[in-house]
């Protein structure tokens, strides 16, 4: 039953028609929400009593961190679905996400280190979160290289899917491992964001910015998927041009 439903939407031409309004909506929502969120984050939200003005970096740092993790989870699930059901559309979607995910990961790392300097005193600490994100960056890079390397080969799709699944097995392992590492070697200075401790005045711009970034991510991913489908069509029809 579910399979039939998926089958209907897994047709690339139908999928193009389905995603078109979503793409438009997410573009408008992204621009609107990012504008409001930036205004709120820079002008109206109060400075933190401990970190003073530097807390404003949070409003771009945290949403991009979330989105870059979400991007990897999406790649994982699409690859898994591809391996189970063998619909080429899924892997086509999964293959377009890494380039967006790596940008957000890079943003997270750079803004994080810029935030770290005034609060911790250094740009870089080998602690749990930072190291795991650096590994995530390398895994994204590996995925992108893999996709490029298999461009002229038959089984690029399946290899991409399997590598992303192996990476997904490793991500929680990396996280836990580095947590362990940290507690033994380097206590404290761990940067945490506990939900309840944050005040509503700071939570609202954070949520708005996250939604804006999420919609931007959806817009970029859908546009990429659209152009990939069209590229595939051009290649497979073997035009004389």
């Amino acid at each position: 039953m579910l399979l039939k439903k998926i089958h209907r939407f897994a047709n690339p031409n139908k999928f193009l028609k389905v995603i078109y309004p979503f793409k438009k909506i997410s573009l408008y929502m992204a621009v609107f929400l990012l504008f409001i969120g930036l205004m709120d984050a820079l002008l109206f939200s109060p400075p933190d009593y401990q970190q003073s003005q530097t807390v404003r970096i949070m409003y771009i740092h945290v949403p991009s961190a979330w989105v870059s993790l979400l991007a990897y989870i999406m790649i994982f699930f699409f690859s898994l679905m591809y391996i189970i059901w063998k619909f080429p559309l899924f892997i086509l979607i999964a293959k377009e996400i890494p380039i967006i995910g790596i940008s957000f990961t890079l943003i997270t790392l750079v803004t994080g280190s810029l935030w770290g300097k005034p609060t911790w005193g250094t740009y870089w600490v080998w602690d749990a979160r930072l190291t795991s994100f650096l590994v995530l960056l390398f895994i994204y890079m590996g995925l992108i290289f893999l996709e490029k390397a298999f461009k002229f080969s038959n089984n690029g799709d399946i290899s991409f899917a399997y590598i992303s699944i192996i990476g997904a097995i490793n991500i929680p392992v990396i996280k836990f491992s580095v947590d362990w590492w940290n507690t033994l070697h380097q206590p404290a200075s761990v940067f945490r964001l506990d939900g309840p401790t944050i005040s509503a005045e700071m939570l609202i711009p954070l949520i708005i910015m996250s939604l804006g970034i999420l919609f931007l991510f959806f817009f970029l991913a859908l546009t990429n998927v659209e152009s990939a489908i069209q590229e595939k069509k051009i290649n497979s029809q073997n035009f004389r041009g």
Binding site: L42, L43, P47, S52, Q53, T54, R56, I57, I60, H61, S64, I99, I100, S103, L106, I107, V110, T111, L114, W115, K117, P118, L216, L220, T223, N224, E226, S227, Q230, E231, I234, F239, R240, G241
Partner: protein
């Protein structure tokens, strides 16, 4: 008024960190968007050309 604007840009002396973070964020996102959108546009152009040729 001017004081307020200057205060806003100074950010209590953390201006460098905050503004460079925001600048990097903005720069990378624009770069990504431009790349994605230009790819889409070039493909649509190609399709149009091929369509004209077929006719």
């Amino acid at each position: 008024m001017l004081n307020k604007i200057i205060f806003f840009f100074e950010m209590d002396g953390y201006a460098f960190f905050i503004w460079s973070a925001y600048a990097f964020w903005f720069f990378l996102l624009t770069l990504l968007s431009i790349k994605v959108i230009s790819r889409k546009n070039s493909i649509e152009k190609k399709i149009k050309e091929l369509y004209l040729k077929e006719q």
